[in-house]
């Protein structure tokens, strides 16, 4: 099979301006993936499926990743012009100072597609797409029109991560019920507090059971006071 670099070159030849990036995998598997631009992703997907050499006809898996906002602290060397008195004369002098800067890299939701070719017996090719942020720019193009097997898995990602797939034929929740508001697989999901009965609690569960009991005791105390 072609390497990721060759696939990237093939995509760029077939779909001009596709803007594909390679996301390297530093692990021993070295399973690098291709980051697609959402605007051109469907065209790229159609090319990957229909290209006779790649013939990626089987979408085996779609999954989501939630990346929280990252605070990055980095040291930057800054050149500044400082006025200093040298030999009794005021002169502007360039000085290099090290500065610590903090910046917040906004989080995003990521969708990962694993492609195989049944015809050519090769794979996987890993595609990724990223949303603009985690709150209001969560739209990505649906791959259901390219690979039909994406339908239920995209519904699952919509349900559990909150990615909205544009062009999906039937985008409804699949595991949780209609009217459920949260996205349980997001890292900032708060689970409902039903820790009133934990017969063998330990660690995290014990902490949450104790917190539940403290809340209940406080509520009971308030009720008694009134």
């Amino acid at each position: 099979m072609k390497t990721v670099e060759e696939i990237k070159a093939a995509i760029e030849a077939a779909v001009p301006g596709a803007g594909v990036e390679i996301v390297p995998n530093p692990g021993p598997s070295a399973q690098h993936s291709l980051l697609l631009k959402p605007e051109r992703a469907v065209e790229v997907a159609k090319f990957l499926r229909d290209d006779p050499e790649l013939a990626l006809d089987h979408l085996s898996n779609v999954t989501g990743v939630d990346w929280l906002d990252k605070e990055i602290t980095e040291k930057v060397k800054v050149t500044r012009t400082v006025t200093k008195t040298v030999d009794g004369v005021e002169q502007p002098i360039e000085e290099t100072v090290e500065e610590t800067r903090k910046r917040v890299e906004p989080g995003y939701l990521e969708v990962v597609y694993h492609l195989f070719s049944v015809a050519k017996k090769h794979g996987p090719v890993v595609l990724r797409m990223r949303t603009g942020n985690r709150s209001d720019q969560v739209e990505l193009p649906s791959m259901t029109r390219v690979w039909r097997s994406a339908e239920f898995q995209e519904r699952e990602i919509f349900d559990l991560y909150g990615v909205v797939f544009k062009g999906h034929p039937d985008l409804r929740r699949i595991l949780m019920w209609e009217g459920f508001k949260d996205h349980p697989m997001r890292k900032d999901y708060v689970e409902p507090d039903d820790f009133e009965y934990e017969p063998t609690a330990h660690d995290e569960v014990l902490r949450r059971a104790q917190a539940h009991r403290a809340l209940e005791a406080a509520a009971a105390g308030k009720g008694a006071a009134q």
């Binding site: 595991l175 949780m176 019920w177 209609e178 009217g179 459920f180 508001k181 949260d182 349980p184 999901y189 689970e191 409902p192 039903d194 009133e196 009965y197 934990e198 017969p199 609690a201 569960v205 014990l206 059971a209 104790q210 009991r213």
Partner: protein, 207 residues
Amino acid sequence: MAVDEKLKIELGKQGVLVTTLQELYNWGRRSSVWPMNFGLACCAIEMIATTMARYDIARFGAEVFRPSPRQADMMIISGTVTKKMAPQVVRLYNQMGEPRYVIAMGACAISGGPFKQGYNVLKGIDRYIPVDVHIPGCPPRPEALLEAFITLQKKIDAQPLTGEGRPRFLDAEAPGEFPVPDQGQHDLEPPSNRSVWPVPITLGNRE
């Protein structure tokens, strides 16, 4: 009003059958408990195995699985009850006619099991409906389900028809319908029916 056991045996030798209405009635009730034909997860596979020739639940009069709650007497909660499924399970239980019994089969049905801390798993069906027999196991073997069924039969046999401890359908005060939980924005509402399930006292929550 029990008949003396020795006298009963003696009369039996003479060809005279002596019994009480309660015994006869309970014998009839326990010998034809028809389960409802539904399964929730992998425990259902063991339940199906129990009905087949090797384990043969027909020996106990419970082989007729009814696909309608109206015709069923026993609900075997065989598997994980998700929060999405829980209202439907309670609704099916409400639709069953009295007398009705519930066996909670397997770790998931009695407590949530290995998925207990999952966001969509109910921590035991006894939070919403009264359970007669709990079977631990993941999944329990067919022998365990048969044992649970025999336990249920013994329970039925021991029930008096009047007074304290009589079955629910002979008690006008007993609840006939159990509230179906709503699927709220974050969780089931209410999270449990406290009249059915008072929070069990453990070493941790004892005051």
